[in-house]
Every structure is written in structure tokens, then in C-alpha cells.
């Protein structure tokens, strides 16, 4: 289950800006991928600027890249009290929800997942990142107040995906990968756990994605209760796998840039096969990419990803 939306431009002719601002266009891209590839699940776009924009951040759009926050709503901890939690549907969240609904209506042969940012990573977009890192030491109560607001919004957002009939949500929390294990627990995992408690049940799963240096964070990530744990290519899955509880899925971690975007189909196949061989002893492992596949990735390389998987599984 690679994380991918943007490379569907090559299939649909839909540009990146349309894809991230128009739920119908995003749906068309997701559907195009679903028709071409037998992925384990499909998901709405991984766009870590959507929620921050709903809070009032400025966003830079590009025809060649996913959007990026370029204007924070807070300079420092002193601005947290005045931050207002937006209603779900603000900004482009309405379009992402729409994309999820359309995918749900059109695709019934596999799970449909929504996507949202994690609480700490959202905080790191609302507030200058350096200031946030310092606040973790100097203004701890203020950071918790900020995380409360982020979590309140994200729970409502996740509940909206659930209400629309989706099967789960990928929560992307990459900034937690920058933290020491004890801070990851205090400032990320405890808030993710609340999100999990609020939405996860037999019909709705949370997959927690962290593409940082997570080797020492696995216990904290698993402690959130998320049914799936998704890892980036900053880690060696052989170090991760033995730490995963048997009742959880874990996913990862083919390099989306160095391998899928830049290497040859043969390199992709080699990397996929090697990872599958390394993970052979773990039936709860699901092949994925380490993060979202960037725009411009050759479809031949994505083809090679699935062909290598099928070859490994003996599927013609």
C-alpha cells in the first residue's frame, strides 16, 4: 500500500493544484490509481498543510509540489491563548472530506482511508518550529494548551471521515520523529492516543505514520493504540519489526525519493524484493513507501513496485 496521490497526474492529466483544492479532482486521481494498481487500501491525499490552513495559516501552492505552509498563525507561545479552533470544513478540509466521500461511493473492493496530520506536527505548522522546540522546554503548559486545540480539531476531522463511511484514517505525525522518546510520548503519542480512543473501533482503524528516526519511538507509537504503524525510510525495518506487537499491522518503507522518484525500475524491484525478504517472518507486515510518493515519479517505477510484490507473492 504505497502512499501516493500526486503521481496520478500522469494518468489523469489533473494538475497538482486541482488535486489539492478540488475534491472531485482528487477523487479522479485516487480512482485512477485504484483501477491501475491492486493496492491493499486507497487513501485521500497526504497534504500536511490542509489543517493548518483551516486554522488560518498561509499556504503556498505549486504546480509541481504538494502545498506548504508559508505563513504561521503564531509567532510564539504567547499567541496560543488567542488561537481559535476552526470548524471542520474550513479551508480545504471540506474538499478532502468530499474526496473521501466520492472514493467511498465509487470503491467498495478495498478499504478507503482518510488522511490527517498528527497533533504535534500540526502544532509545528501553526507556530514557528524553532519556537515550538524551545517551548517544549521553556513553556510546557502553553504547548499542552496548543496541543489540546490541535487534538480537538483533529478528532472532529477524523470523526467526519468516519461519519462518511470511510474505513480508517492515516495520521501523519512526522515531526514527532524529531523528538527524544520521552518527549514524543508527552507531546505526541498521548494526544494521538486520544484521537485513537475517539474514533477507532472494529469498523474504523487508525494508522499512525511517522517517517522520522523512530527506532526508539516504536513503543510510544504502539502505545497510542493505533491499529497500524507506518514507518519511513529513515529507519531499518529490521530494527523496527521485532518491536511491533503481534496484534498490529506495520507498514513501510521503500524510499519514495531516492528509489521510487529517482532510481530505475530495476532498482525499485530490487529494493522491494529485499524488504519483503527481510520481513518474511512477520505476517503483520504490509509493504508500503516510507512517505508519500512525490509528484513526477515515473509510473514505470510504481509499476515495478507492484510487479515485484506480485512476483514475491507468486501472483502472475
Amino acid at each position: 500500500m504505497p502512499i501516493m496521490t500526486c503521481p496520478a497526474s500522469a494518468l489523469t492529466g489533473i494538475g497538482i493544484i486541482d488535486m489539492v483544492t478540488n475534491g472531485q479532482a482528487q477523487f479522479a486521481c485516487i480512482e485512477a490509481f485504484a483501477k491501475r494498481y491492486s493496492s491493499l487500501a486507497v487513501h485521500t491525499g497526504m497534504d500536511l498543510s490542509v489543517e493548518a490552513e483551516a486554522f488560518g495559516c498561509g499556504v503556498k501552492f505549486s504546480a509541481h509540489e504538494v502545498p506548504t505552509v508559508n505563513q504561521r498563525v503564531m509567532a510564539g507561545a504567547e499567541d496560543i491563548d488567542s488561537l481559535t479552533v476552526p470548524a471542520v470544513g474550513s479551508g480545504r478540509t471540506a474538499e478532502y472530506l468530499r474526496a473521501g466521500r466520492l472514493v467511498r461511493q465509487a470503491i467498495s473492493d478495498r478499504p478507503v482511508l482518510g488522511g490527517c496530520i498528527g497533533p504535534f506536527s500540526l502544532a509545528g505548522r501553526l507556530m514557528d518550529t524553532n519556537a515550538l522546540m524551545l517551548a517544549l522546554i521553556k513553556h510546557v503548559p502553553a504547548v499542552h494548551a496548543l496541543l489540546e486545540k490541535c487534538t480537538t480539531f483533529l478528532i472532529d476531522y477524523a470523526k467526519s471521515f468516519k461519519a462518511d463511511g470511510l474505513d480508517g484514517i492515516i495520521v501523519a505525525e512526522p515531526m514527532a520523529g524529531l523528538l527524544a522518546p520521552e518527549r514524543c510520548e508527552i507531546f505526541s503519542s498521548r494526544y494521538v492516543a486520544r484521537l485513537v480512543d475517539a474514533v477507532q473501533d472494529q469498523g474504523f482503524s487508525v494508522i499512525l505514520h511517522n517517517c522520522g528516526r523512530t527506532t526508539r519511538l516504536v513503543g510510544s507509537m504502539a502505545g497510542t493504540g493505533a491499529r497500524g504503524l507506518h514507518f519511513g525510510n529513515a529507519v531499518n525495518m529490521c530494527d523496527i519489526a521485532p518491536q511491533i506487537p503481534a496484534d498490529r499491522l506495520f507498514l513501510g518503507n521503500i524510499d519514495p525519493v531516492g528509489i521510487l522518484r529517482q532510481a530505475s525500475p530495476e532498482d525499485v524491484a530490487r529494493s522491494v524484493t529485499q524488504l519483503l525478504e527481510d520481513m518474511q517472518a512477520y505476517p503483520n507486515f504490509v509493504l508500503s513507501t516510507g512517505c508519500d510518493i512525490p509528484p513526477g515519479t515515473p509510473l514505470e517505477n510504481i509499476d515495478a513496485f507492484f510487479q515485484a510484490l506480485n512476483r514475491f507473492n507468486g501472483i502472475p
Binding site: 505549486s62 509541481h64 508559508n70 522546540m133 527524544a180 525519493v257
Partner: protein, 211 residues
């Protein structure tokens, strides 16, 4: 006296902000030269970098150490007898290349370079090739750091390197790249001189270039 200075190295390495403030104040009152105190603080920062490499410290600790160092420098710098520029280990131009507005990695490198004694000309994010070239021409920098978090920024980085060649500055300046999408292969492919795996590696590169 030397025990106090060793204590200063340890206080900064242990991120003891109050301890650093106290020891800097005491060292000054005991007649220590501000330059000598800065040397000890730099040794403390080097230890922080080592602990980061060993994964004992993470980004929060790295940024906090830079904050402690900078606060100490606001006290010490005005007291230095020599001009600040005379004490610099070298000038480095840092920027995020055109088309990319990520600043976290760049800012950390800027902080660590300054803490290590380099003068940094920070030209910000989304910086066009010409801004890099002009900054080097004006500052006489010997090292340029180009940060990028987007693969689509690779072309802008290549254009920036080409702009240095066109300005007849390429043989006068070394170019390092860094950012999560970069690799040593990318560095070689675009014709840069160094790839910094992380912020501490960037400081090591600056030391190598400016030694």
C-alpha cells in the same frame, strides 16, 4: 579557574541554562577574557553535537543548546576586545533554494554554524540563484550551503551552481547541499562539493573548508 571553565563546557553540554548564565557571569567577574569563555562555550556546543550524533540528544536539545549559547553571546560579544569579524572562523552563505520555502533545517544549520564561530549570511528561503551569487560576492564567503526539502528544488540547485560558474566564482567557493531529499549521489550529480547528512555534518564541513 580551569575547573570553572570545564564546568562551563559541562553546563552547556548538559543544557543547564541557569548554570551557564552563572558560570559566564562568575568567569567574567574573576577576570576571564570573554574570548576564552566563548572558546569554552564552543567546546560545550561541540559536545552537544556529539551527543546528537549518538542519538542521546534530539532536535529539541540541539535548538535549546543554540538558544543558551546565543544568550551567553549577547553578554560576551560586546565585551570582546577584538572585533567580532576578526574572530570569525569563516563566512558561510546559507539559503533554501528557489521554489522551496522550508526553513527548519536551514535555520538549525545557521544556528550551529554561528555557535561554532562562523559568520553566517542567511539569505532566507525561496532564494534565486542570483541572490546566492550576490551574497557570496559581497561577503567573500568561502562556503555556500543550499538547503532543500523538495525534489523539485534540484533544478534550482543546479541552476545556482551554474550561476556561480557563470559569475567566475565557482573555483572560489565550496558548495554543500543538505535536506531530507538529498543524498551523496544527488550531491555528485548536481556538481556540489559536499553533502551534509545533518546539521552537525554541515558544521564539520565548514570546519574542513575553513581550516
Amino acid at each position: 579557574m580551569s575547573n570553572d571553565m570545564n564546568g562551563l563546557v559541562k553546563a552547556l553540554a548538559d543544557l543547564d541554562e541557569g548554570g551557564v548564565e552563572t558560570l559566564v557571569r562568575e568567569s567574567l567577574s574573576q577576570g576571564m577574557a570573554p574570548e576564552a569563555i566563548i572558546t569554552e562555550l564552543s567546546a560545550g556546543m561541540a559536545e552537544v553535537g556529539e551527543r546528537f550524533r549518538q542519538e542521546e540528544y534530539f532536535l529539541t536539545e540541539l535548538i535549546y543548546s543554540g538558544d543558551i549559547f546565543k544568550n551567553a553571546m549577547t553578554v560576551l560579544k560586546p565585551l570582546c576586545k577584538t572585533a567580532a569579524d576578526a574572530k570569525t572562523r569563516g563566512v558561510v552563505v546559507m539559503g533554501t533554494v528557489q521554489g522551496d520555502i522550508h526553513d527548519l533545517g536551514k535555520n538549525i544549520v545557521v544556528t550551529l554554524l554561528e555557535c561554532a564561530g562562523f559568520t553566517v549570511v542567511d539569505i532566507g528561503v525561496d532564494a534565486p540563484a542570483q541572490r546566492f551569487v550576490e551574497a557570496v560576492a559581497q561577503s567573500q564567503a568561502v562556503l555556500v550551503g543550499m538547503s532543500m526539502l523538495l525534489t523539485t528544488a534540484f533544478d534550482a540547485a543546479r541552476e545556482t551552481i551554474a550561476a556561480f560558474t557563470q559569475a567566475n566564482l565557482r573555483d572560489k567557493v565550496k558548495i554543500m547541499i543538505g535536506g531530507s531529499v538529498t543524498t551523496d549521489a544527488v550531491c555528485q550529480d548536481m556538481g556540489a562539493d559536499f553533502w551534509g547528512r545533518d546539521a552537525t555534518a554541515a558544521v564539520d564541513i565548514a570546519r574542513e573548508v575553513c581550516q
